[in-house]
């Protein structure tokens, strides 16, 4: 039997087995009525109706235009805004790590092997409306490892959060985390200069190209855990998430992408506003972070509120990321609001938190908008998404409510308090002195 097939089967089987344990999909349809609905993929709907059933969206539309099944449980959502659950394209929730100090390149390291599904950080993220996250290994390497895309379902084990992806040998959706600039620079065996960084990264892709050729032309090629995920990246099945700040480092990523043809998302992209046209022309999306103040490291001196606006004006696709714990998942909307503050359009900012982010994870068929057939991942907001006074009232994933602000046992995850959190936190400052 082809081992590749067996792994895919295993992934599919595990999901079939575990999902019914971790959750209870609704047996009857549920209809949310009276809310203003932001489907993201289409215009906002006043007095809208959202019908979900067995974890999927069944119908979305204006009251009267949507037929509500006779057996549906009807919920009054008037006064709320309903929009898709947020997709965080770069987070460190879950207490995982990644590659160690033994090498600057760890393509064989999987963060899925190091995640604590009971971590506080997941509870926090659910209160912020995050329903899907790209959890990243690292930081401080040229290649920190394989990222994992998680649904923030209530989970007993990691399998309850994984997303099957039949294209990948391990069977679960994820990307590759790479970095350039000062982040991976340190004593040998790490690179000491930017040019050395690029040459080491190119070397890995060239190795993987040769391995791919062997796989295509030879029988019984020995497995190579380092190169398999890079081959998947070369084939476009695994997206490369590339940490990069300075304008010239951004262009280095684009150059490498042209050379090897992998699919890439630029991450952080501090200087994006200096090279927005080049980014747009390359057709490469950006996952940006907006911080209250620039600085804290040399590469972040140009980190300004305007990045989202400038990229939007250039026609480049943008998502946001928390980089939790750099920023707090509970306040993810706040970041988009600061982009709006500096001129990004509300529509693009909302899209950046949802559908554009889903596209950057190859998940736009499942999440990111409220459309029939998609996963029933949505949130109820008490007001305008960009207002400080607005709270996430409820977070739903695949038709299951995973956070309710009205529940006194769950409210503290949104506000904090005594012995609510255990201090789980990804400390960017102490992880190998990541810069």
């Amino acid at each position: 039997m082809n081992p590749k097939v067996s792994y895919r089967l295993l992934g599919a089987l595990l999901c079939l087995l575990v999902i019914p344990l971790g959750v209870t999909a609704q047996q009857v349809p549920v209809a949310f009525e009276g809310a203003t609905i932001y489907p993201i993929s289409s215009e906002p709907i006043e007095n809208g109706v959202l019908v979900v059933h067995e974890g999927k969206i069944v119908a979305v539309g204006a009251a009267g235009s949507v037929s509500i099944p006779a057996d549906a449980e009807r919920r009054d959502a008037s006064g709320f805004i309903i929009m898709p659950g947020l997709v965080d394209t770069h987070s460190h929730i879950g207490g995982g790590d990644g590659g160690d100090r033994s090498s600057p390149l760890h393509p064989d390291v999987r963060i899925m092997d190091a995640i604590d599904v009971r971590s506080d950080t997941f509870k926090k993220a659910r209160t912020g409306g995050v329903t899907t996250a790209n959890v990243m290994p690292g930081s401080g390497h040229l290649l920190s490892g394989q990222t994992i895309y998680l649904k923030l379902r209530n989970a007993r084990t990691i399998y309850d959060m994984l997303i099957p992806d039949a294209r990948l040998r391990d069977g679960f959706a994820g990307g590759i985390k790479m970095a350039n600039g000062t982040n991976p620079l340190r004593a040998a065996p790490f690179p000491g200069t930017r040019a050395r960084s690029a040459t080491l990264q190119r070397g890995l892709f060239i190795e993987a190209e040769a391995y791919r050729e062997r796989l295509q032309n030879e029988e019984n090629v020995p497995r190579n855990l380092r190169l398999e995920p890079i081959v998947e990246a070369l084939n476009g099945d695994r997206i490369v998430h590339f940490h990069t700040h300075r304008h010239d480092d951004i262009l280095t990523v684009l150059r490498m992408q042209r050379e090897f043809g992998f699919r890439v998302v630029l991450h952080h992209v501090t200087d994006a506003w200096l090279v927005a046209d080049e980014i747009a022309a390359a057709g490469v999306p950006s996952s940006i972070i907006v911080l209250d103040t620039p600085g804290g490291k040399l590469e972040a001196l140009n980190l300004l509120y305007k990045s989202g606006r400038v990229l939007e004006e250039a026609g480049a696709e943008v998502s946001f990321h928390t980089d939790d714990g750099v920023t707090d998942s509970r306040l993810f909307f706040r970041m988009a609001a600061f982009a709006v503050r500096d001129g990004m359009s509300r529509q693009k900012a909302l899209e950046a938190l949802t559908l554009a982010a889903a596209r950057q994870l190859d998940m736009e068929d499942r999440v990111g908008s409220l459309e029939p057939g998609k996963d029933a991942d949505f949130i109820l907001l008490t007001g305008d998404p960009f207002s400080v006074y607005t709270h996430v009232q409820q977070t739903w994933i695949e038709g299951i409510k995973v956070f309710d602000r009205a529940n006194p046992d769950q409210l503290p995850y949104a506000t904090g308090g005594h012995e609510i959190f255990r201090g789980d936190y990804f400390d960017h400052y102490s992880v190998g002195g990541a810069q």
């Binding site: 103040t293 804290g296 904090g416 960017h428």
Partner: protein, 391 residues
Amino acid sequence: MLAGCSAPVAQLNAQNIAVKGGIVYTMAGDPIEDGVVLIRNGRIERVGPASRVSIPDGYEVFEAPVVTPGIIDTRSVVGLAGILNIPHDQDQLETSNPFQPDLRAIDAYNAREDLVVWLRNLGVTTVHTGHGPGALASGQTLIAKTWGQTVDEAVINPAAMVAFTLGPSVSSNFGGSPGTRSRMVSMLRAEFIKAQEYMARENPTRDLKMETMVKVLNGEMRAMIHAHQVSEIMSALRLQEEFGFKLVLEGASEAYLLIDELKEAGVHIILHPTMVRTRGETTNAAFTTAARLAEAGIPFTFQSGFEGYVPKTRVVHFETAIAVANGLPFEHGLRALTIDAARFLGIADRTGSLERGKDADLVLWEGDPFEYTSRVCTVIINGEPASTRCQ
């Protein structure tokens, strides 16, 4: 609303400015709808509704939907801590010795620091800044306007408080010595006793550390103790009781567990940044603490605090905004950033409210100062337009 920030319409007399606000929060009485603030020679000349205050000829007019007094950050390290975060621009913590009350903030404050400029452009007009947390006594603090090219031009009070810390950061910054909370308190008690003896001596040989400690003992400078957890806060209160200095609690993330004790002690709290990361000594921090303190009538103000990485400083009113979104009344939040902060810092004769005779420190906003999307379009400090670009 969004188009409300206007450029100056006339450039006739830079000294005389009229600010028109859709709503003017003077912080001295009720907000004034359709209000006018007249500024002459750097000071506030008149405040009132447009119906009663006419703008004399030759006044440069600024206009915005919302006008407030300049924002006051009651605990920062900007100016000592710089934007680059490299040794060259990090003067907030000296690690050769855990007890250095003699270090003066004025000897390290960089009035041109980019972080100071950043805060100024967002409406922060006064900072209480200086030595950071992380040492038993890290040094002194100062109070400065965020305007001026040198510390001398900017400073209001060159020696405001002495910054003390009780907590595990001291151990990690000083190689495990002091290594426990008890040891920290013991060392501090010894220093206070030494200072009492120094104070009693006639013509002692000058000792800069003890001179500073005497100022703390006699109330000339306040002791600002960074303490987050219950045991640390209780130790600070116990030290205060033993030595009678003027105590300010800084951080205090578990303050909500000690409401009665803090109320009885009558101590002012400079509350941690609302969005502080919930780990280590601030694991139990809550967005709702400001609201709980307000409810209990415990005096407090806000801080930007200290940041070791990105972002290199917080923005104090952004922190207050999250407190207001979590139960702190709007008016109380604004007060804590302006008049309460000024009174606490002892500078209410100069700033903190829009009243005749005070320094003309004003912020012109596009809308609700706490809203994420309300930009600051003009900042006036000492009657001078310090920033006129919306951001």
